[in-house]
Symmetry: C2
Subunit: 406 residues, 2 copies
Amino acid sequence: MKSFEFFRDLAIIIIAAKCFGMLARKLKAPQVVGEIIAGLIIGPNVLGIVSQNDFLVQMAELGVILLMFLAGLETNLQDLLKTGPIALLVACCGVFIPLLGGYLLYSGFHGFAGIGTDEFFKAVFIGVILTATSVSITVSTLRELGHLKGKVGTTILSAAVIDDVIGILVLTFVIGFKNPDVDPVNVVVSTVLFFLFCGGVGLVGYFLFRWMERRHPNEHRRRMPIYGLALCLLLSYAAEEYFGIADITGAYVAGIILCSIKSSDYIAEKMDISSYMLFGPIFFASIGLKTQVKGMTASLLVFSLAFVVVALLTKVVGCGFAAKICKFSNEESLKIGVGMMTRGEVALIVAQKGLSVGLMDPLLFTSVILLIIVSSIATPIILKVLYHKFPEKQPELPENVPVSQA
Amino acid sequence: MKSFEFFRDLAIIIIAAKCFGMLARKLKAPQVVGEIIAGLIIGPNVLGIVSQNDFLVQMAELGVILLMFLAGLETNLQDLLKTGPIALLVACCGVFIPLLGGYLLYSGFHGFAGIGTDEFFKAVFIGVILTATSVSITVSTLRELGHLKGKVGTTILSAAVIDDVIGILVLTFVIGFKNPDVDPVNVVVSTVLFFLFCGGVGLVGYFLFRWMERRHPNEHRRRMPIYGLALCLLLSYAAEEYFGIADITGAYVAGIILCSIKSSDYIAEKMDISSYMLFGPIFFASIGLKTQVKGMTASLLVFSLAFVVVALLTKVVGCGFAAKICKFSNEESLKIGVGMMTRGEVALIVAQKGLSVGLMDPLLFTSVILLIIVSSIATPIILKVLYHKFPEKQPELPENVPVSQA
C-alpha cells in the first residue's frame, strides 16, 4: 500500500458513516446503527471499496478506547458507588444465564455429553462466548439520547466492567481444563492486582490532576486533556499487557479516575470532538468492515439464528431479572437487560481463543459475527424505542452541546 | 506487535512532546522545537523506548495533513491573491539559488565535472535535494506566535506551495535525463491538470458547503468539520495518486477552498483540537524518532556541515532577495527567507528517488537527516527572535483562543 492511500479509506469511511448516520436519524434510529451499516456497505460484502487493514484496526481500537474513556469521564462517582452492588448482581446474572443458555443450546443441537468430555467443554465454551458484553454501542446510544448519566446508564456501565472481569475469569477457568499452561489461580490474582493497581494509579493521578488545576485555578489548559488522554492510553495498555484485562476496561477506569476533577467536562469536551470527527465513525464502520459472511449452510444458518436469539434473550432475562430483584421498575429492568445485550470484539477474541485450543469449530465464527451485527444494530434501536415509550422518571436534560449532532 | 502496544507508544509520545514543548516555552523557544527534541530523546538515538512503525508514520502523515489544512483554512483569500505574484518570485528564487548552491558545493568537494557526465548530474542532484521546502514547522511556529495570517506568513505559505510544484518539476527533469521512463512533458501536463482539478473541486466544494450553511444559517453543525476533513483527505490523496503532487499541497488547497465560507473558523477550531491533542505532537516527535545517525566519518561530517550551511543560507538569500525586490522591508525579507529554510520529509523523499536511480550516494542520507533536524530546530527559534526584535507593523492580535496553549 502506498503511504497516502489510507487518506482515501478514511475519507470514504467518515463520509459514509456521516451520511448513513444522518439517514438513520431521519428514520428515528440512533446514528451508530447508520455508521455500522455504512461499514457493511463500503466493506467487502457489498461495494468492496474499503477493506480492513492494520491502520484501520488500530484507529478503531483508539476509537473504542476514547468512547469508554468518555463514558468514564461522564460518570457520576456517587451514582457509581450507589449502583455498585446492584451492578455486581446484574453482571453475575448476565454471565451465568447466557453461559447456561449457550451450553443448553449446543447440547440441544448436538446432544448432551457427559461432564468432563470434549463435547461437554465445547458446549460450555459456546456459553462462554455468550458471556462477553461490549457496551461501547450501548454507551454511544445512551449518550446520543442523553441518558448515559442516569441510574440505568450507570448501572449498565458498571455491570459491563464487572461482566468483563467475570467473563475473563470464566474463560480462563474453562481453558484451564484443556490447557495446563493457564493457571486459574494466577488469573484471579492478576485480576485482584489490576484493581489494586488502578486504585494506586487512581489516587496518584487524581491528586496530580487536582494539583495541576490548583496551579491555574481560573483557566482551562490544553495540557489537561492531553495528560488525560495519556492516562487513558497507559491504563488501557497496562490492563492488557500486565493483567490480561480488556483495554476498554482500563480506559473506563481512567475516565472514572478523572470524573470528579473540575476539568472533567473540559477534558470530555475535547475528547468528544476527536471521537465524533474521526475515531468513533471508524470504530463503528469497522464493525461492518470486518464482516465477511462465507461458508454459510442451511444447518449452520439455523444454528446461528438460534445462537443469536439465545444470546440476546439470555442477557435480557439474566440482567433484567437481576435488576428487578434490586427494585428497579419493570421498564428500567428491561432497559438494563437490553443495554447489556450487545456483543462486540470481545466475543470474537474469546472465539479466537477457543479456536486456538480446539474448543470451537471454525465454522461457528460466522454465528459469532452474525451475533455481533444483529446485537449492534438491534440494541440501539430497541433502546431508543424503550426510552421513547418509558421516559426516565427524573429525565436528565440532554447534555449541553452547543451544536447539532448531525 | 500486539494489537494494543501502540497505546503505550502514543502515551509516551504525547507526554514527552507536551513536557518538552512546555520546557521549550519556558526557555522562550517555540513548542515545536521541544516536540522534535522529545522525539529525538525517546527515539532510537537516546533512550530507544519508542521506535518508528507503520502506524506512527501514518498518524504523523495525518498530522502534517491537518497542519496544512489548518493553514489553508486560516488563510485570508484576498491576501493570498495579493501576494500571489510575489510568492511566485520568492518560490523561484528559493528553488534556483539552492539548486545552484548544492551544485557548487558538491563540485567544490569532488571537482567540477563536464556538463552531461554522471558526476555533473550527481552535483545537480545535491542541488535538487536542497530545493524542497517543508513549511509545516514554519506554519506551526507562526500560528503559535499569532502571525500566520500576516502578509509575511501568507507569502511564505503560498511560496512554499509553488516551491513544491517547481521542486517536483526540477526533480522530474533531472531524473528524466537518467531515466527514459519519466517524461518531463507529462509532469508539466499533470501539474497543470492538478490545478485545473483543484479549481473544479474548489468551485463544487465551495458551493456545496455554502448550500449546507444556508440550510441551517443559525447553527454550527458537526457535519461541517467532518465533511471538511473528508475534503482535505480526498484532495491529499488525489494530489499524490493522480498528479504526483505532494499530499500536503492537496491538504493546503482544501483549506483554501473552505477558507472563505462562514463556518471556516468553526471547522478550524475543531481541527485544531485533534491536531494539538494527538496528531501534531506525533508528527513533530516522529521527525526526531526516525532519525538514526550512523556511518558518520570525519569527511562526511565536514561535507554534512557544509551541506547544512549552504542549504540554510541559499534559502535565506534566495527567498529574502526575492522578497526584497518585491518591496518587503529588510526585516520582512529576512523573516521570509528564514521561514522558507526548513526542510522536511520532502527532502528525504527526493533523496530516496535519487538513490533509486543512482544519482546519490546512500551515505549522503545522513547529511539530509542532519539538515532536517538542524533546520527544524533552528527555524522556529530564529523566527521567534526575529518577530520579537522586529514586530509586524500592523501586528495581528493573537488568535482568539480561549485556553492557554500550554
